[in-house]
Symmetry: C2
DNA sequence: GCAAAGTACTTTGTAGTGCAAAGTATAATC
DNA sequence: GATTATACTTTGCACTACAAAGTACTTTGC
């Protein structure tokens, strides 16, 4: 009967602050290497690895594994689904925030 | 050397989705009874009680206990500090979100 | 008038999350 | 060829969010 509450509509995968930072960063540039993202956001290896996995499981980023020379290199790229989810999240938040001001 | 990262500047007390909903709701009306808030946001008693405590500990809301007739009645009221913290949070998020679009 | 049901919360127990430390695997350097 | 570095992943712990259970009454039958 009641509307779905605002806080129920917030996608927790994107709302988490570190993952939000990752998504916003990726939305700007499309894709970034593991270490580039790590440096830009000041994350530990393990932390980024875990959040990257969570975002991949949600289908919001694609994890591309290649070799640069002889070393492994992991790149995170935002997907169409991820971009859409971020846009939805942003629109929802904008709505909440503008109501609040 | 580096700037404080965006995700470090997000206040986790306010960022949590249920507490954000509480703060936004209170910002609109100033104060609400425990049960009013519970109904509007679709929360369980325990959940609201816990989050109210967290917001009080942060100084973002004041918990006022009175008797209406013979029954206890708890009211949550947003504080000046809470309003300021919400504004800061909103401004920060607006910044992040506008960069992302 | 006293037991049963209701009101208004708070506390407890559990499942899930976020994080850095430790681990794995390979490459480069000394 | 042993040590150090690179590029991550996995593990273990501390914390959080939540509903269920608990507390302290009050109101309503009977």
């Amino acid at each position: 009967m009641a509307d779905k509450q605002l806080h129920d509509r917030i996608d927790e995968t994107i709302h988490q602050r570190t993952r939000l930072a990752i998504m916003v960063t990726l939305a700007g540039v499309g894709s970034l290497e593991f270490n580039g993202l790590k440096g830009q956001l000041g994350l530990s290896d393990g932390n980024l690895s875990t959040h990257a996995g969570a975002l991949e499981r949600a289908g919001f980023v694609k994890i591309i594994k290649r070799f640069r020379g002889r070393k492994p290199q992991t790149t995170l790229a935002i997907t169409a689904k991820g971009r859409k989810a971020l846009t939805n999240y942003i629109n929802l938040l904008q709505g909440i925030l503008s109501e609040a001001t």
